[in-house]
Amino acid sequence: MISSALKHLPVLQVVVPLLVAALCVLAGSRFLARTALILTALVMLSISLMLAGQVYPDGVISYALGGWPPPWGIEYRIDMLTVFVLITINLVNLAAAVFALGRNDDNLGRGAHAAFYAAWLLCMAGLNGMVVTNDAFNVFVFLEISSLATYVLIGCGRDPRALLASYRYLVMGAVGATFILLSIGLLYMHTGTLNLTDLAQRIDARGANRTVIMALAFLIIGLGIKCAMMPLHDWLPNAYSFAPNSVTVLLSGTATKVALYVLLRFVHDLFGVDHALSVPVDIVLVACAISGMLVAPLIALRESNLKRMFAWSSVAQISYIILAIGLGTGAGVAAALVHLFNHSIIKVAVFMAVGILIARTGTARIRHLGSVAHTHRFACYTLLFGGLGLIGLPGTPGFVSKWVLVSAVVERGWWWLAIPVLAGSLASAAYVWRIVEILWAKPADIPLQQTRSPLAFVEWFPLVVVMGLVLWFGLHASLVTGWAGLAAAALTGNGS
């Protein structure tokens, strides 16, 4: 019984949240839904860890859905890269789910909570599905599941503009999904298969033609929208800033990261960045990344809303990951994964602290938050430490990321790329210190309706845990870098 269940872990990763989501709606009770959410999040993290335990010694797990062997049936394929991303997003999910039990800044009326948590679980089911599946069309289906749920989640923000933000994301997300679908269709046209491994082999064998190039262009744009690559990023700042606090936490650590994972998979697995198709994908990605690294922090510097400022910082940080992907080397992939994980935990901590601050002070306007650090110490110090991580000071995970990224850049022979990376960290230092100056030193410009309610367990506990992770991984980088190296080896080994 147990052993047969263990064999089905890859599909359970997706099916469990999917089923529980349906049960939540049926149960309709807020208490039951909350309990279900937390338990499911725990189960999902455990499944990821168990999968890691299986993959680490055995190598790749190939799971044939419904017993149809690949490439005819749908294949779920778990390797080191997959479990790396699974653990990251399910860890974030658990922390965000606990945080969601606190003061959430949402507009949910009575009875709507169960539906909210159901949407949450659907979103996670979709994201997990995108990670585990090895079938191109399946990726699209899961992408749609997660996206639709995300629009609902964002629309639950208390500010009425949340609906508008959600709508904009919906339009952009729909465009992105369409492009991805087009891309998959073109690939299918060219190769007659949807299994990614199979696709990669056939593209490799037949070489590229116009169809494949078009597919590549559509794919880069579709995924670029979903992961907020620089010129396609515009939906993100508003979506993050008006979503309920816990949803911002969830999205910052999962949605864009999964899109980046898919980008990594497709670009490396199918096309190979090493000019295998004589297509300058690397140049395009690197150019977008540089513009993101330089422009987004400058906008963050002028931002008046605390949450949106950190959303812009997310755009900047995502650019680092895209840069690393664009390098196209094993070290680049490893750097991308390291930053993917590190940025997830840092941003989750930052957005939790921001959420606590907003819930207490009732405002996200930066200039209204003068000197609140003296009354809200915990949140502000977490924010400060997270900010140091974003800058990349030694002792923070951000430093580890910068280290591996600059190493990868130099190893690739593009050492001049270190200059925009440095300029980017400088700009992030500027916006973080602007916040620090206001939170600690500026007098408040209006009297705030502050509520001095003590921190609830569900607020401080996940934050403390994530902060602990941030501290731990800042000082003990070898676990993440080592694993990212293994994951990168799995990917680059696959591709060739």
């Binding site: 503009r161 508008l164 709508y167 904009r168 339009v171 952009m172 465009v175 492009f179 033609n209 116009r210 190039i213 078009m214 590549l216 262009a217 559509f218 880069i220 744009i221 670029g224 929208i225 010129p231 396609l232 515009d234 939906w235 508003n238 004589s278 297509v279 300058p280 140049i283 395009v284 400058l298 002028r302 800058i391 990349g392 000071l393 030694p394 910068k402 280290w403 600059v406 190493s407 130099v410 190893e411 050492w415 270190a418 440095l422 960290s425 400088l426 230092a429 500027a430 210190w433 602007r434 620090v436 100056e437 600690w440 030193a441 500026k442």
Partner: protein
Amino acid sequence: MINAPFLILYAGALAALLTPASLRRHVLLAVPVAGLVNLLSISPDAVWQIGLFGLDLVPFTMDRLSFIFGVLFHVAAIIGIIFSWHVTDRPQQVAALLYPGSALGVVYAGDLLTMFVFWECLALASVPFITARGTSRAVRAAIRYLVFQVLSGVLLLTGALVLFYETGGIDVGPMDLDHPGAVFILAAFGIKAAFPMLHNWLTDAYPEATPSGAVFLSAFTTKVAVYALARTFAGLDLLIYVGAIMACFPIFYAVIENDLRRVLGYSMINQIGFMVCGVGIGTELAINGAVAHAFNDVIFKGLLMMTMGAVLFRTGEIRGSELGGLFRTMPGTAGLCLVGAASISAFPLFSGFVSKSMVMSALLAEHHELVWLAMLFASAGVFHHAGIKIPYFAFFAHDSGKRPAEAPRHMLVAMSLAAGLCVFIGSYPWLLYGHLPFAVDYMPFDVPHVVEQVQLLFFSALAFVWLQLAGLYPPELKSTNLDAEWFYRKAWPAFYGLLYGTAVTLGSRVRSVVTGTVALMIPFLRRQSYDLLMPWHVRGMVLITMVFLAGLLAVLYLHRGF
């Protein structure tokens, strides 16, 4: 390797963090004393190596160059801690050990990675000295300071990485600028050493520090950089000219500056100019001179900073226009300030004399006559602004009517210690100079040197007196002078504001043109009120996506020609 100097100070900092306020200052003082004893007992060939990330890291290694800097930093820490005996706020007190500890970490680092870690610690640990002032002006200056320091750190890290991938080694040793990595590293050192145009963090932040904080700040950061330059770029010709510019340009700013601690900041850049120049010459005599001058500068610049700190502490005022006549009630401080002034101006028998003449002689020996002339001008200027202006405007000049009490006893003790060292080193130079990196056979007290220096001082003083009497001396204005920092405090924000504004206007104009055109073509859209939700509307985003797709396809097409 439990007795590495930085470990002792870091452990002391931890202890200071945990001890109650009443006991803390005693812990503070005991730690560097113990550290100094420990340093003197370490055998010179001790090395501490650890392996990490497949690299051989060397957190501790010592030679004659790093030994003398280690002694210097311990002494500076002791004097600074005595001077700040009245300080009771924990961040500053902990920083009083963390900051010297990090400086020691840099000095004894055998590889660039270790050096980088301490380099960043040095930056972070020094910030409390500025922020503790509590004014928003100080906090802002601290932020600008930190941005510069962090930039220096990341440059060093990048340089180390580039160098590592080029050469496979990250030892701290002589480098040449053929490697791009070395260029990054030179830039990193240059920021910390306050090279011209990179110097503004110093004149910006040091005057905003607390009275005792400025004493610490003036001792470590820049001298660490001088050490690093001497270790890696000795003999780089470029540094001779950089040093000459550093020695000369601050003089003009120092003369018109009103904040007396900022005057000292400029004078610090001027003194570092001598050291950088010495490093650039690179001969044994020149390196000796640079190192000796760094040693002396820490003591006499510290002394001057302390006297100005005492004035600020007692009067709450540091602007030359508001001070004057303080010698009546602060005679001790005034006298000690004169000792510091004599030392920095290189009076014979005071500490600056020997070390400065070593650099000057080395310049002549290597036939850099023009630079030598520039340095001569700089020496005269030092006497002018640091030797005369500081004591004159603070303690003499017109009577400001202020009658503050004499400096507290602990400050007098600290200042007397420094003053004693100035005179002692000035009178018995060979006791210090026996420990310089190279064996010295240099005769400082011969007739030409003494006569030349006395003449220089005499005519410089004469110029000051004449300018004062003729009423030509720039009046002390209550103003803030901006030099190169104008670029980032005025020009860049204005430019950035303009850029941002233009981008926003341009964006909305493009959008309205495009939507207008589209609306003309599609009558249905005309009915919509698209201006209402301008920053929110979706069309712009979709348009960007389309343009991006077109661009991407064009790039791919052109590249492949399919």
